[in-house]
Symmetry: C2
Amino acid sequence: MQAIGVTREGDEPELLDVERPEPDAGEALVRTLRVGVDGTDHEVVAGSHGGYPDGADHMILGHEAVGVVEDGNGSGLEAGQVVVPTVRRKPGGETNEYFRRGEPDMAPDGEYVERGIVGEHGFMAEYFTSPADNLVPIPDHLAEYGMLVEPVSIAEKANDHAFATREPFEWRPEAACVLGNGSLGLLTLWMLDREFDRTYCVGRRDRPDPTVDVIDEIGATYVDSRETSVEALPEEYEPVDYVFEATGYAPHAVQTVHALAPNGVGALLGIPGPWEFEIDGGQLHKEIVLHNKCLVGTVNSHVKHFEAAVDTLGEMPEWLLEALVTTVATPDTVEAAFEDDDDQIKGVVEFDTL
Amino acid sequence: MQAIGVTREGDEPELLDVERPEPDAGEALVRTLRVGVDGTDHEVVAGSHGGYPDGADHMILGHEAVGVVEDGNGSGLEAGQVVVPTVRRKPGGETNEYFRRGEPDMAPDGEYVERGIVGEHGFMAEYFTSPADNLVPIPDHLAEYGMLVEPVSIAEKANDHAFATREPFEWRPEAACVLGNGSLGLLTLWMLDREFDRTYCVGRRDRPDPTVDVIDEIGATYVDSRETSVEALPEEYEPVDYVFEATGYAPHAVQTVHALAPNGVGALLGIPGPWEFEIDGGQLHKEIVLHNKCLVGTVNSHVKHFEAAVDTLGEMPEWLLEALVTTVATPDTVEAAFEDDDDQIKGVVEFDTL
């Protein structure tokens, strides 16, 4: 079957011819419909994140997928059911406390593999197999955009964790700011715009730009970080109650504290490399304390967040989904889905349709 | 009446002769029993924190107090009731949303005054008045150590806010570490030692030392930060699930992230001045994200935390309370309560007994 992967020799996604996988007991065979591409995929391709399955000379890419059950294989799933696979799996097939609790997203290094990212093949192939417990059913009418369930689930978890930090008191947030205008940032911006009175999205682009068009259409305010740094948000616009960081730009962690209103919370999601710089650590510490601020990091997501994401996806307007999916490539034209220029928001590889 | 205060000319606590206050409507008159001294008092005396009441040439010190109602004044409190006053009050007597919600501890700068710290006289006098809503009743048998309710309430709030951040998942913490071996640190250490399997307390003292004796007696492990830095805790001892920072030493905010186990949370309580230093901001950001870590700042406390603190104080063993209160001075010997050497843990000024 056709698959898109990286090899130890190559430095870009390649069309591979691999054997169709056979489902083990408890697994279903899934026919892939669409697989999205995100920043993590680019890092995996560049070799800066993740790692190959044990002993393999290639890794199939892709962790944002939607497919249809081809063979339930006695797993409890019926053939024809549209499903979205979760990403984290048991390392070497061996379970641990995090998987037992249904919270592999909270597992530390070494206690998981991630399909298409680290240690296990991804979903960017005509077929994949998966334990039925890791396949989240979605309605047929969401199949076309089902590959967005995974990124939306990342935002669901981050929001869930961030808002929980404000539960001990009466939090009355009004303004939220998303750092980053990639597909995750824009999906999250739409979600937050439903909950907050005023929303902002920080990017580094000149108009006209497709991401800024989406920001405008959502009704949020675009903030060009070349003109207004994140720490200047309170002076130039307003202090914000919630910051959702989706850039991986390391200074944003510190700047977020200064952008926050009293009692605000910042969710950090980016994964920067090492970067030493000077901060006013005294001011940072004092600001966190005197204004009851919070920074919370979150990574990955699991079934409950996927389920919430299915509901959220179902509420997203058609214009947003159409605007976000800028490329639908086939396995033969896969490089178009991996193009990373200013016209691309979300590239998708389509293997089949319902 | 006798009062202990600071004046604009002086740089140490002075015995003042001031007029006995008259309770307004809704206020009770309280006869002061004991008032504790903490690091904030020393900062107020040194002029580095807080500020005088409007137009006053002196400020009465003290925010950790216990007293007995002398005159309920129709406020609903009976004469003879032992009470502990809360610290934050309405600025200029004018309410705002934070006071309406009963959460002045969440109010930003300018939306509150703090008795004995900023903008309003404290409790270090023979009598004070207070709205009855700001007086938390405590049992008579806790009167002797009632001045510890306020610092314990600070820990109650911090723990409450910190643990709330871990609510969205099954947190199974085992180890906690308190940074700082002052009275707040030691009170908190005892509280955490009831909840966690293993506890640590970081200080900078040579044995024999009265704070290290308390750490030993609690059953916690003393960590000398001159030998083991906070970021080296995971290597030298173990990664800890909870860090309670009570030092105000700015690098601890960053070091806390590295001391935490995956999914851990650090509560920051110290209030450092400006201090620029270099950090690996990339590593910090990545560590927060990839291991779902959290930093939460908390300041002050209010009635619900005081009420929890009354329960906690009632459970504290006599040996701990006796060990913590190292000086009981009178107004005439007040300098002994403000001594800040290695033999002092908590100095107290006693105005009267039940």
